[in-house]
Symmetry: C2
Subunit: 394 residues, 2 copies
């Protein structure tokens, strides 16, 4: 679990209880192309604002990332902005880098000031302890209510050279107290122009992270960051590089996103909602996301109830024109609706119920309006979700 | 509980179990101005399509409504359209009216054909039993999983003449099995031009029904219909009539909408989400609805947890530009956030918790960006919601 050119470390700053790892550091041996997708929420945490601004100033170059868990540094006003900058400047000093080349991220409780001195005190030791084998500890340090670290890697051959991609994610916080965050960090030794990396990152996020939904809310801190250091030594201007790299990045993101959703507390079913036969991919995606976000669909998933009326109703709520009399719906391979009405098969419901007992299955809606398709991931809205979120005391 | 010029009846057609009332009829002594707001869902039940087309053909004139509960006649294909027309034609024959003057509505399970012969057999007796005192039975006949009928009335003086408004609603179905429906029927003896009635109806729906949310889904059958028969004998072209009528209609709709939400199964708190200081009313409404629809806010309401980070995060997800550092937030009268950060008051959380034990309270978010305001109603996302929706078996 290495990525040539990158080193990692983790530490305890006492932000989380019980002495858990709560600080992580990534450093690249050289300036890396950097691309990020940040939360679309209009209330953005200080680290998101600081990191976005740094990428704008450098035109997409970064060489390090400092991240803390346990505290989101969100809704913390001017002090929060100052603290985020102090994290960046402290890490830059420890690594002897310009501050603009250091990205910063935070996840955890909202509205509480960071214990910034405790963090600063750990930065020099963390820089000294950077290790090519340190990714597992780094992946643990970013967790909040996750059940465990979620790591994935890919290797892709390009012109005889192996390119490595290594990433980790955290996210159970989406359904956990205090509206925590999806953080995803990916490093690669590929040498990539910034524009190529940015395009691949945006496409991978749209096809994966933006298509998963646990509760439909996006947090103040969501960040997906990709650093391409170039240690592989490939020609960054070789034709076909983007075409080789982008699918590997998307596959890596999909694996991480699925792991993130399955790790959600209270989640016992992960459902691929596939919409096909759409006039455009955007239409298909909007409908798939509307289905995946519907509370009524999600409680039906929790209860194992093949209540297809809810799926069609949620599809109709997506704001996309569709012909109700053309719809075809399957749960797993079991057809339940054809030409907009229930199939004449008394056994279909029982077979669909059996499918819905599986931990993972598909719901497929065919619009019969065109040739485009998209998917979204859905999960249960369960008693555990309510318990975790309602019974929490600030 | 009368409205001059209107008569009502109810009957049992065996659609609902245990012999409950499941058919309702409203008839006006004369052709009435009619205005309706139908579901925005792209999958619309047959009765919605038939009723909308009739209003288009007549230019907004109707004289009767036939409604059934227990079966939504949605996702029923060509047969469903035929059955909806048969309901209209049967009622028109029984009342000796042109079919275009009869509106039709349905609510209940999706995807099951109507028992149309049983309905047709009841239409002549229902016409014979029409009664000026029949509104309570009518209001009962439209219910599905509601705990009981929800009726409201208003009287408004216009130029010395009392104008009466009488309405009923049903809606617990929104959070009940099989994605049932909000139906609201209002009759008035006011004489109103169709355009005046349509404008008042649209405004009242926007300010009330469109601002309540139980689970964010709109059904295939949602209908709000207002019939203005004119028995009051007022001058329909008198200046100021619309200005007198519209507030009464909005107040009536608000009372019905609040009753509907409080009646939702699993609902133990109804919360006014008030957004003020917005640049436009539309901005304020989008933010209020985003807060009211957030699963994390709704579980916080269920748990009585003054988790203001979730409210601000949901506001940020509304897609409206806002200044996080200007936000001010109250639960009840307790200030929790000022200038975007937590107030320095250790007792605030405990006082907010006490507010959140009440069955009804307010959450107020001030954007400090302008002078416009709007509200939305929110309720719990509770264990009961999950139980009702997950454990139901089709």
């Amino acid at each position: 679990m290495k990525c040539p050119g990158f080193r990692f470390s983790a530490a305890r700053a006492g932000i989380k209880e019980r002495g858990a790892l709560d600080l992580g550091l990534i450093a690249s041996d050289r300036p890396a192309s950097a691309a990020a997708v940040f939360t679309q929420n209009r209330v953005q945490a200080a680290p998101v604002r600081v990191s976005r601004a740094a990428l704008e100033r450098t035109g997409g170059v970064a060489q390090a990332l400092i991240v803390n868990s346990g505290n989101a540094n969100a809704c913390t006003g001017a002090r929060g902005m100052r603290d985020a900058r102090r994290m960046v400047e402290g890490a830059a000093r420890a690594l002897e880098l310009p501050a603009d080349r250091v990205q910063v991220a935070s996840t955890g409780v909202i509205g509480v000031p960071l214990p910034i001195e405790a963090i600063e005190a750990r930065l020099a030791p963390m820089a000294a302890e950077l290790d090519a084998d340190g990714f597992a500890a780094f992946a643990e340090a970013i967790l909040t209510t996750d059940r465990g670290p979620k790591i994935a890697s890919r290797s892709v051959d390009f012109g005889g050279k192996p390119l490595t991609l290594l990433g980790c994610t955290k996210g159970a916080g989406m359904i956990a107290p205090n509206m925590a965050t999806t953080l995803t960090f990916i490093v690669t030794d590929a040498a990539l122009p910034q524009a190529t990396l940015a395009e691949a990152t945006r496409a991978a996020a749209d096809a994966t992270y933006n298509s998963i939904t646990i509760d439909g809310d996006t947090s103040t801190n969501d960040t997906l960051l990709v650093l391409a250091g170039g240690a592989a030594g490939n020609d960054p201007l070789a034709p076909g590089l983007g075409e080789a790299f982008a699918p590997a990045l998307e596959a890596l993101c999909e694996e991480l996103a699925r792991a993130l959703m399955a790790d959600g507390e209270g989640v016992s079913h992960v459902v691929d909602v596939r919409v096909r036969g759409a006039r455009s991919e955007a239409d298909a995606r909007r409908i798939a996301q509307s289905i995946a976000r519907s509370s009524l669909v999600k409680t039906a998933i929790a209860g194992g109830d093949p209540n297809w009326g809810r799926v069609i109703c949620a599809a109709g709520n997506a704001g996309v024109d569709l012909d109700p009399d053309a719809l075809e719906l399957f749960i797993g391979e079991v057809p339940l609706v054809r030409a907009g009405v229930a199939v004449a098969d008394d056994g279909a419901d029982a077979r669909a119920e059996a499918v819905m007992k599986r931990p993972a299955y598909t719901i497929t809606l065919d619009l019969h309006a065109g040739g485009e398709a998209a998917f979204a991931l859905a999960c249960d809205l369960s008693h555990e979700y309510v318990t975790i979120n309602a019974d929490y005391r600030t």
